[in-house]
Amino acid sequence: MSDKIKQQNAELASIGDDYATKYGFRDPIDYFHKGARGINHEVVEMISKMKKEPRWMSDIRHQALDIFYSKPMPQWGNTELLSEIDFENIFYFMKPIENQQQSWDDVPEYIKKTFDKLGIPEAERKFLGGVSAQYESEVVYHSMREDLKKQGIIFLDMDSALREYPEIVKKYFGTVIPSADNKFAALNTAAWSGGSFIYVPPGIDVKVPLQAYFRINAENMGQFERTLIIVDKGSRLHYIEGCTAPVYSTDSLHAAVVELVALEGAYIRYTTIQNWSRNIFNLVTKRASAFKNATIEWVDGNLGSRLTMKYPCIQLLGEGAKGEMLSVAFAGKDQHQDAGAKMIHAAPNTSSRITSKSISKDNGRASYRGLVKVHKNAANTKASVQCDALLIGENARSDTYPTMEIDHDQVKIEHEARVSKVAEEQLFYLTSRGLTEDDARLLIVNGFMEPFTKELPLEYAVELNRLIELEMEGSLG
């Protein structure tokens, strides 16, 4: 066993020393369009004009910008780090190339190299039904399998969707997350560009996952992708997204908005792994609406970024709707993962489960901030929340702030949280079986994360395990 781990560790060493070599490379490029820093109504108008958007969309953008101006910065969470964001120093719109490509060969060499390094085309060939790759503000490459197209499934970037299916976009855009939801959702609504749009017609089971990959390359870039996924009655979809960025000395901002709609009896599995470099502020708003008998399964991984504030939410709006959220956060050196989950029970016979796992290492800080809300009409609600935190290193910090607001008595709500370090007894046992302390620790951490990793598609699970092993390297004093 020990040999196997040693071999694995050797493999690990060859992966690269850290993020900088694996994902942290950057492309020196000339942009087709690189706007000015800062945001105002002219910038918003320019984005809208370049995209040749209908008037109603640019109206929404301008309104949202006013909301952004009027809302104060959050007065909670890590206000110290938040105050470092300089909205005037950010590029709000960067267009790397003129037109989106559908053939991998037509994608410019430098971008191709980037996504090649990240393994995207390889993954596409192996197990995906469709891929979308976003570079800075726009989607540069997009493809989907022919048979899926024939079934009537629409998988596009948001900009194209707005051009080609304006009626669907108009019907659902901003219905799950209104512009006024919070300051960063307002900013996204004003400056959004790119993101995925998926529509699955009624009664279709999309058997292969669809994937999007988001990449920030430039310094002081603000990426505001906007994703809208609608799965119609009785259909099923699995969507995966991943994110990385190079390492710069100054910070970039990622403020995405993701809206999911599962109509009656629909099923959505949404898997997202955020592995931004440690100079990204990741302040995203993600929410799903589940109608009658619909199911949302959410798998949420937070590994990268400097500060993440992300509280994915499932609104159970129809009778019998189900929500499940499985999230994991890894807070390494100087990182603060302020993540969590929200479940809003607004209909009878709904059920939800939140499982949150966090690891804080060195001086990293992982916070769980969650909400379970049961509205007056939501009889026979079941909700359970479980938070486990593992602390590695004497300056690691873990916070748990769960909130439960219950307006109905016919409910069953449970919450549990545990915080611990790697148990001495477990270490002792494993080392007595011949493992080195390093290996033993790794084994324990992997075991802790297993309920999460086993929910990931194979490629992601392997990737995650490697990342954790990388993070754990030399964690012993």
Binding site: G393, A396, R397, D399, I406, K421
Partner: protein, 443 residues
């Protein structure tokens, strides 16, 4: 924007005037603190409703327009106090009774023996002049204007308070009972309690809050501050019983600090008032100190409860445990926020927390926010919370044994609160049991 309360501080009626007579009470150092507290209160904005501990209760509830405070008619409530005192003293299970009539009159019944053994049980104002070395050292150390606007209010205006000092090594076998009665409609009172328990000494205190306005449309206001110090190896038990009248708006901040090897038991019990916001906190400041809290509240009618607990592990090798039970019926609501904070240099700590909410009918509302802030890895910490109705299976079982439904509910609720009741001194246990029974019957 949608919060009209924020700017009301500008309303001069809520400010403490410069010439308020309370500010002139006490020796010079005390007057200085009172003045500073007044400034802190007057300059602090009304807490924003979005703020962490104010999400569920409107802070305006606890602001009092001084020009409207009535200073008359306390008689009716105080008659009842006399009766309770007689009963307590007669059954001989107490170390003494202290009555506090809205701060205007503080009486000591049967405390002579305790004082003869070296303890000090006196008015806080007297202690400030007679035992300045103790009072100046401890008063305002834990509850002061840094805690917030309403703690500053009490800090400026308390009049009068109770001071208890137990010298090193003195073991007080029987509980000391404090009976604090509030005035009727339109009254405002600022009781304050300071307890110092010396090294290796032992004390049990029952702190009972009664009285207040009977009329919800004309509320009365109580803003109370409690500071308790448990020195090394001391053993302190503190029971807070809030059974105030239906028109009372109550605000209370309790903080205790315990040193090496000390143990502290805190039992917050709440039954009364229209709106009751209570904040109980224990700071574990010395190695091997141990704190446990067993709380319960029972809300009925339109009562609102907003409770907080804090276990703050400042020192390593400390242990804490919280068990907080909530029972609600009719349209009552409760918000419970419990924080465990373990500092970076507090190594090898254990901390547990449990909050259970029993909702007896629909229309009740409960919030629970058990929080953890853990700043080092060498801890064992867990918390759990549950909310829900009585399990229908349990009712079914009892019905099948020939017990009628009302009795079945009574049995289940009694079972639910037993862990808390077991922590209360025997003579109080029956009274608490009867409060629970009364509320179940709808009185």
């Amino acid at each position: 924007m949608n919060n009209p309360t924020v700017n009301k501080t500008e309303n001069r009626d809520y400010l403490i005037p410069e010439m308020a007579p309370e500010l002139e009470r006490g020796p010079r150092w005390l007057r200085d603190v009172r003045r500073r507290s007044r400034e802190a209160f007057n300059s602090a904005p009304v807490p924003h409703r979005g703020l962490h501990l104010w999400r569920y209760t409107d802070p305006m509830t606890f602001l009092v327009d001084r020009s409207q405070v009535s200073d008359t008619d306390y008689g009716e409530n105080f008659g009842a106090v006399e009766k309770i005192v007689r009963e307590h003293v007669e059954h001989g299970n107490l170390a003494g009774v202290v009555t506090d009539l809205a701060g205007r009159e503080i009486g000591f019944h049967g405390t002579e023996e305790l004082c003869a053994r070296g303890a000090v049980v006196t008015k806080l104002s007297e202690a400030a002049t007679e035992h300045p070395e103790l009072v100046e050292k401890y008063l305002y150390q834990l509850v002061n204007s840094a805690c917030g606007k309403f703690e500053a209010l009490n800090g400026a205006l308390w009049n009068d308070g109770i001071f208890i000092y137990i010298p090193d090594g003195l073991v007080v076998e029987k509980p000391l009972h404090l009976l604090r009665e509030s005035g009727l409609s339109g009254s405002a009172q600022y009781p304050r309690l300071l307890i110092v328990v010396g090294k290796n000494a032992e004390l049990s205190v029952i702190d009972e809050y009664g009285g207040g306005s009977l009329d919800e449309s004309q509320p009365s206001n109580t803003n109370s501050a409690v500071e308790i110090f448990g020195l090394a190896d001391s053993r302190v038990r503190y029971v807070s019983l809030q059974r105030q009248a239906p028109g009372m708006h109550g605000y209370m901040t309790h903080r205790a600090r315990i040193e090496q090897g000390a143990t502290m038991l805190t039992v917050p019990l709440a039954f009364g008032g229209a709106v009751s916001k209570q904040n109980f906190g224990v700071i574990l400041n010395g190695r091997h100190s141990e704190s446990s809290m067993f709380g319960m509240l029972f809300g009925s009618g339109y009562q609102r409860f907003d409770n907080h607990t804090l276990h703050h592990h400042v020192s390593g090798e400390t242990t804490s445990n919280i068990d907080f039970k909530v029972v609600l019926r009719d349209k009552a609501t409760s918000a419970y926020t419990g924080l465990i904070r373990i500092e970076n240099d507090a190594r090898t700590c254990e901390a547990y927390q449990e909050n259970r909410n029993l909702l007896l009918n629909s229309g009740t509302r409960a919030e629970t926010i058990p929080e953890l802030e853990i700043l080092n890895e060498d801890v064992r910490c867990s918390h759990g919370a549950t909310l829900g109705p009585i399990d229908p299976l349990s009712i079914f079982y009892l019905l099948s044994r020939g017990i009628d439904e009302a009795e079945a509910v009574r049995m289940i609720v009694s079972g639910f609160v037993i862990p808390t009741l077991q922590q209360v001194p025997k003579n109080l246990r029956d009274r608490i049991g009867s409060f629970v029974a009364q509320r179940l019957e709808g009185n």
